[in-house]
Symmetry: C2
Subunit: 238 residues, 2 copies
């Protein structure tokens, strides 16, 4: 039975991390967001799921009767089934830790444009957004990218176990997102983090990923997603 | 061999979620933060861990040669070993999703006092902290607590599978933390969320947890942790 992915329509957002894994593996899946009734079906399913499997928020995956929510959890669930996780238990948890660190970075990237509340317009929290973005560029981007670069120094082109895992796909996505949102801050990226640039290129060139990125299934980055290009929030890295 | 838990000294912080699981299970563990050289040993171990297991930040767990970081990941790893996770794979992922939702709530609770940057003093981001706290109290606390309460309606006193899991222990900790940080906002807690109050009491009364909470191993909440009581950030729920 095909996997069903539920997420908001019209943006990459957190759903994209799951899409990239499904696309790389060539898995059969239905992207419910792309169907006419996608959002209403998603809302109904969230409401009707009772007990422990009830999602707090999209994205979530339906695999038969099983509902799995939270991106890192979906990927931990799918990883072994899609051949995108190491066999070794300890390494599998290392990949999960990397994915959770990516999730933290994604949440912080979101909060650069919404530092006060997701319930307020960007325009109503612009001053705080400028201050948060400035700190994100100065302190957080280098800390996160430096961490992944350090790990890659001891791998063989991939983050864990010498083979592609879903965390590599997610790291690719985060790098693309940061370059979209903060082109000035990321100007020195390929020079400062050559191993990350190599990984980004290697993921981009994987046949299934290249086919996906060239298709209309890949929604372009836009200002409804996590990574938004607001020029006033971007600045040169210090 | 005893588990070794590495974390900052002098605060509950994110380490507390792991401590509660180890204490409930009566597991043998060394809390490195409580040893004279705890912090320097931790920093050295982080620096010397090469490759995929390298922690981005504390807390992390050492189990022989295995290093596991990120709270939800540590608990996913420990859960089955400590008898604090369901046997069923789908339910185990449901518990992990609950834990990740708790982690999101914890990150948001942290950002109420540090909405701009963890690198700045609270005093230097107080206005933004007031605005973020106000939104957290009005929108986010009810959304999160409502979610857990809805799930408990369909359980048998616990979040998943009719038995205590590590997510219940973490939910207890979050409820205690919110009550410490935001006593005014949480005034109606027991009336508004009776099932959550029952769960909180049930965890508090478990013999191993009660013994731990009464010991000097339990550091009191304080203003170095995630949940900080700054009266100017607290307000009545709307």
């Amino acid at each position: 039975m095909a996997y069903e992915l539920y997420y908001w329509d019209g943006l990459q957002g957190r759903g994209e991390f799951v899409r990239l894994a499904l696309e790389e593996a060539g898995a059969e899946y239905i992207d419910r967001a792309r169907q006419p009734d996608g959002t209403s079906t998603m809302m109904r399913l969230m409401r009707e799921t009772k007990g422990a499997m009830r999602p707090f928020a999209p994205p979530f995956l339906k695999d038969g009767k099983v509902i799995v929510s939270q991106v890192a959890n979906i990927l931990f669930y799918l990883g072994p089934k899609l051949g995108l996780a190491p066999k070794d238990e300890a390494l599998r948890h290392a990949v999960n830790a990397l994915q959770l660190t990516i999730a933290d970075l994604v949440a912080e990237a979101h909060d650069t444009h919404h530092p006060i509340s997701g319930g307020l317009y960007y325009e109503d929290q612009k001053d705080a957004a400028k201050a948060r973005s400035s700190a994100f560029i100065a302190e957080r981007i280098p800390k996160y990218l430096g961490h992944f670069a350090e790990i890659l120094q001891h791998g063989e082109g991939w983050l864990a176990g010498g083979a592609l895992s879903y965390a590599d796909l997610s790291l690719f996505q985060v790098i693309e997102g940061l370059n979209y949102a903060f082109p000035r801050a990321m100007k020195g990226f390929a020079t400062d983090y050559p191993a990350l640039a190599t990984l980004r290129d290697a993921v981009r060139e994987r046949p299934n990923i290249a086919r996906y990125l060239g298709s209309d299934r890949r929604i372009p980055f836009n200002e409804s997603g996590i990574f938004r290009h607001y020029p006033e929030l971007d600045q040169d890295a210090p």
